[in-house]
Amino acid sequence: MSADDLAARACEEVQTLGRLDEACVKLLCALMAEETRRVAVLRPPGGWDLDEVEGLVSEFFIKKGQRLTADLVMIGVTPEVVGKVMRRWIRNFLIDRARDTPLGRIRRKLEEDMLGQHPEFLQVPPGEEGAGRWYLAGQPSYPYGGDFTPLIETAYAVPGVKAVRWSGPRRPPLTSDASLRAIVAAVLTAAGGSLEVAQLVHVVAQRFPAAAEPEDVTIDDDTFDRATHMGSDDPGFAFETGESISAVLDQLSPSQRALVPYLDRDINVVMEVLNVGRSRAYEAVRHLKGLLDRLLPDDETRGVVYAAVVERCSKT
């Protein structure tokens, strides 16, 4: 059945039955499959398949079904309106989900707490080159078109930046508002022009790599408790901890800290600790090792700091 035929039947359903039925559900699944492709940050590691899409449709329906139904029954007067309204609901649902991703949260942090809140950050007005981008007061406003490496290095070079300690079980850490404000100002200065919000998000995500990590769904809370209990039996190494050790620890989620002591163990141990299959255990280890690689200092203290982090995590 063509999309137009499906929409026509869906329109008939909502108008006569006052609810969604088979045609509406099929249309919903088809539109969900289309719209998920637009939201790259939600893409599962193995890509979208039918199960994943239908899972999203279920979640969508549980959260929004009643209001979507009311909306379609009230205003779904033509097949075109039904298709458009349904697509908008799905798109908004996916936008909400994307905002809950780490990159989405960084973007919201920048938009809601930084840009537009402080007078030194100015937006290029409509009609001008780079309209909608952000630049620093006193700096040129034309679009920055250079490499991001110097901007990221500038972000790292801002002194006195401290990572904020993990404040909840699922929220990634970033930094204080004052530090972030200083970083954004420094980055815009280095750019010498205007940046899109997405470009700023990229730079900030590189500066705080743990904040840009996806939610740690490999380890649930029960597993975390079990893993930390097992870890407490392991002997630790006593090392003096310094700023860099704290900086690494602060940026690890509780469940990531629980996994640290097992990173060099046999994969079967990791599978047992996490209570997951082999591929997910490998994935969790690979993921955490990559993160630590970016967080650990790149100097002669690297090994010492790593050992201290392992020791601390073993005692958590």
Binding site: L17, S58, V73, V77, K84, L115
Partner: protein
């Protein structure tokens, strides 16, 4: 679980969210005939034109052709302190988001049918009043730059498109329209006969066309060009008639006409106005006709639906 099992599971979920009290039939029973419709502040209406439809809350009483509204939605994604969440009295468990910064003057011709009414305290909030007791703000106040609700953006687009879709009123009085001061076409008897034969219609219908009392169809325009040589300038229907047709009581009739003749709403309105005008001109020389009554008579003669 098979694919069909999963589909059935989703359909089961859909059934639990049914809103049968909101169907067209249920609304018709609830609000009755157009004379009793709440065309006043506090009423929630469906506004529509072609393939755009949305709900609006009337925040003022209507003028002859417009009414001040603010849109309402069931989706509140990204809404902030400029949006109020209120219970939707007829919706099972559904809340409505009232977007007060999107207030607009809508042409009455957009209003389709009433769907509910909200307390006047909500109207007061849209004008800067306090948050009503049984309502709440949709979110915190955000700097304007952060106000990125996709729902708000879609609403702005839809409102602009709706307002632009309604043809502008042409200010022609009944007297000016009826006196026929426009340039007329004067066919010969042979040309009249040829037109009647080619179009397969009666002489009065051809007279209306020749006198420019209604818009010719493409086929009629071609016949006029071929046989008479020109297409007569069409006399616009009087403003009073067009204004009467702005009233929501005629929306169902216009949409029925559009559906039957497979045309867009703007074209259906033009046809309805010109045909009702032509019929009225044939029936009486009254300079101030009761256009509501004339429209009803024409709609009944055409067998068109009424609200």
């Amino acid at each position: 679980m098979t694919a069909d099992d999963r589909l059935q599971e989703l359909i089961g979920l859909a059934h639990t969210a049914a809103q049968p009290q909101l169907t067209e039939l249920a609304l018709r029973e609830r609000f009755g005939r157009p004379d009793g419709w709440p065309l006043r502040a506090g009423a929630v209406w469906r506004a529509r034109w072609d393939d755009i439809a949305l709900l609006v809350l009337l925040v003022g009483n209507p003028t002859a052709t417009t009414v001040a509204v603010t849109p309402v939605t069931f989706d509140d994604t990204g809404a902030d302190a400029d949006t109020l969440l209120v219970a939707f009295p007829s919706g099972r468990g559904a809340t409505l988001a009232v977007w007060r910064t999107l207030r607009r003057d809508l042409p009455l011709a957009l209003l389709d049918r009433p769907v509910d009414e909200l307390p006047l305290a909500v109207i007061a909030w849209t004008a800067g009043g306090p948050v009503p007791d049984d309502a709440r703000l949709a979110g915190p106040a955000l700097p304007s730059v952060a106000s990125r609700s996709p729902v708000r953006a879609d609403l702005e687009d839809d409102l602009d498109a709706l307002i632009a879709a309604v043809p502008a009123l042409r200010p022609v009085s009944s007297r000016g329209a009826a006196t026929g001061t426009r340039k007329r076409v004067l066919p010969t008897e042979e040309q009249f006969a040829a037109l009647v034969a080619r179009l397969g219609v009666s002489l009065p219908v051809v007279l209306d066309l020749v006198d420019g009392k209604r818009e010719p169809s493409p086929e009629e325009a071609a016949a006029l060009r071929d046989i008479v040589g020109i297409t007569p300038e069409v006399t616009p229907p009087p403003a009073e008639l067009v204004i009467e047709m702005y009233h929501p009581r005629w929306k169902a009739t216009v949409l029925d006409l559009a559906r039957r003749r497979d045309m867009k709403e703007a074209a259906a309105r033009a046809v309805m106005a010109s045909e009702a005008f032509a019929l009225a001109a044939r029936q009486t020389g009254d300079q101030s006709p009761d256009w509501r009554e004339r429209l009803a008579r024409w709609a009944d003669a055409e067998g068109l639906g009424r609200s």
